[in-house]
């Protein structure tokens, strides 16, 4: 698959450089930059849920929890204690990693439906905590006045500057995922996902892979949340909500899992299509819901894989077939 080959090694650097030029394409159009940043944030979110979904076949409906924890933690640390933003983001990631860890430990015996429900209830519980624990979380109003990321003296408080951080973050996540997937660890995770009993018979202990995958995935999701916080400047109980679970799920379902391009395609679909068609918030959700349904019924592998196979059929791979 073309993109997969690009990601490895030298191709990855090329991709990184090319995408770093993306913000320049906007010619300063604020909307374009804003959407680009949204695509980065949601892209990381999509990758973070794609990881457990495709490898472990676990569908966490409550994935918004990791997003919310990352967002709230980073936001609160930055506003209450005034620590350097990069540090706050790292701590936000750490906090959501912890969440993933705990979730993994608790749900080790749960599969399928129970896992889905448990994560959803956890999310709802955390949301209520955010709303009612006024003193800490700011209640329904949430946390405002979150400072932007500043590196040295450089403040990333414009969409233009922030977009670079976003793109770099996305590539970091992609890099991590690729390295993990192609490692012995990643292969073990895949084995666990395919057939647990068989994996166990091959002396693969489920526990570390289950917990590890969820922790790593939660870490990425937390990064997404923290980035959200420092871009939008405010987070509230809505950020600890089902909406972000939906965005993540939709991106993976529509775009397709198991590849690098899939979640990206799904995220781009989610971010750019409604804007281009000028949809209202509700209409957007209707279309997303319908798109998800359509993909699940007809295009199970996602639009990215569909496009790639379409290109291949037309002989447009752009790669010379090498001898084995």
């Amino acid at each position: 698959m073309k993109v997969a080959e690009i990601i490895k090694g030298r191709g990855m650097v090329v991709g990184l450089i090319l995408s770093l030029m993306l913000p320049l394409l906007g010619f300063g159009s604020l909307i374009y930059l804003h959407l680009l940043i949204l695509a980065c944030i949601y892209g990381i979110l999509a990758f973070s849920i794609e990881f457990p979904m495709t490898r472990l076949r676990a569908v966490p409906f409550g994935w918004g929890a990791a997003f919310g924890i990352g967002a709230y933690t980073s936001a609160l640390l930055a506003t209450e204690f005034g620590w350097p933003v990069i540090g706050c983001i790292l701590l936000g990631v750490l906090a959501s990693t912890l969440l993933g860890l705990v979730l993994g430990l608790i749900t080790m015996k749960m599969r399928g439906s129970y896992f889905a429900i448990f994560s959803m209830v956890l999310l709802l519980f955390l949301q209520i905590v955010c709303v009612s624990w006024d003193s800490v979380t700011g209640g329904p109003a949430g946390v405002t006045g979150i400072p932007p990321i500043s590196i040295g003296g450089l403040k990333l408080d414009t969409p233009f500057s922030f977009s670079f951080a976003g793109i770099l973050a996305v590539w970091l996540v992609i890099f991590v995922i690729r390295r993990l997937t192609d490692s012995p660890w990643g292969r073990a995770v895949k084995a666990v996902g395919r057939n647990e009993v068989l994996a166990q018979s091959l002396s693969i202990h489920i526990a570390p892979y289950w917990v590890g995958t969820l922790s790593v995935a939660a870490a990425m999701c937390g990064l997404s949340g923290a980035l959200y916080a420092h871009y939008f400047g405010a987070v509230g109980p809505t950020q600890m909500g089902l909406y972000y679970s939906l965005v993540a799920l939709a991106a993976v379902i529509i775009g397709g899992g198991g590849t690098v391009g899939g979640p990206i395609a799904g995220t781009l679909f989610w971010v750019f299509v409604p804007e281009m068609l000028r949809m209202s918030g509700e209409m957007r959700m209707v279309i997303m819901g319908l798109a998800m349904v359509a993909c699940m019924l007809f295009v199970r592998q996602g639009i990215w894989a569909l496009a790639v196979s379409g290109f291949k059929k037309l002989g447009l791979t752009g790669r010379v077939q090498s001898q084995a």
Binding site: E282, G289, L290, M296
Partner: protein, 293 residues
């Protein structure tokens, strides 16, 4: 006062039990968690509402029609989309039900411009003095509907051929096919039944508040999940008992403990239950590995 809280809790609990019974039916027979169950509840209320206000149909008739319409609708949804994923891991169907529900709900929001509407009847508003307390007509309707449908569901499951087929599917999906159950058709029928039950709850329970909006399905479904897990996934009796328990707990908790955190206790309870006794009060033992179908 105490009696009032008790009765209210009992009746709302009966309503939750009704909503939950649909959910637990779908899970018990098909091993699918219908994440879109709330939308049938919402639709039940809204269809009745539109029938009443648009065509001037009286409430009882509108309610019955709503049940038929929503039941048909869920049958069609199942037949056109859900059953196609029958052989896939249940996770896919769960996401699908969620996606469908979201699409419909947002369409409803567009339709109603996000404004809540008044959904009540004269009978519903009339107070009836019973014993030492006053009960609104709508509460009686809710109680009556719940008893009626739970009873009908019981009879259906235990005394009819259809019920036996559903039970067979619940016990072992493949074996049921071997003895001649048309599982594909029954798949759709199960969703239809679940839809009807949810709509029945929507028609009766939703009107208790007097106003409805497109997101009542959310509140309903969260409670339904609590009830289903507490009572045991797949257990009708469990749903009934758990429903009333939750209703009472909420009623008393709301009055004597109160606070925005009230619902949080419910969620905490569910999480603890899932960790230590996932089967709930009366549910069957849960497999730890995903069922292949």
């Amino acid at each position: 006062m105490f009696l009032d809280v008790l009765v209210t809790g009992f009746i709302t609990g009966a309503g939750y039990a009704l909503l939950a019974s649909g959910l637990t039916l779908i899970y018990g027979v098909l091993h699918i968690v219908n994440f879109g169950h709330g939308i049938f509840y919402t639709l039940g209320a809204y269809v009745a509402f539109y029938l009443m206000t648009g065509s001037g149909i009286p409430y009882p008739l509108a309610a019955v029609l709503s049940l038929i319409i929503v039941g048909l609708f869920s049958y069609l949804v199942s037949r056109s989309m859900l059953v196609k994923l029958m052989r896939e891991p249940p996770a896919l169907t769960m996401i699908l039900t969620w996606a469908i529900a979201i699409a419909i709900e947002e369409a409803l929001v567009l339709q109603t411009s996000g404004q809540p509407v008044q959904f009540s009847t004269e009978f519903g508003q009339t107070p009836f003095p019973v014993g030492g307390i006053v009960v609104s007509g709508q509460k009686l309707i809710t109680l009556g509907t719940s008893i009626l449908f739970t009873g009908m569901l019981y009879l259906l499951m235990k005394r009819t051929l259809l019920g036996k087929q559903l039970q067979a599917m619940a016990q072992d999906f493949e074996e049921a096919q071997l003895v001649g159950v048309n599982t594909k058709k029954m798949f759709n029928v199960t969703f239809a039944l679940g839809g009807i039950l949810a709509a029945a709850a929507g028609v009766s329970l939703a009107a208790l508040g007097g106003v409805i909006n497109p997101s009542i399905g959310h509140l309903g479904i969260f409670r339904a999940f609590i009830v289903v897990i507490l009572g045991g996934m797949g257990s009708m009796e469990g749903a009934l008992i758990a429903g009333i328990m939750v209703g009472l707990a909420e009623s008393f908790g709301g009055v004597y403990i109160s606070g925005a955190f009230k619902a949080g206790f419910g969620y905490l309870l569910v999480m603890v239950l899932l960790i230590f006794r996932p089967r709930g009060l009366l549910g069957e033992e849960m497999p730890t590995l995903e069922r292949e179908r």
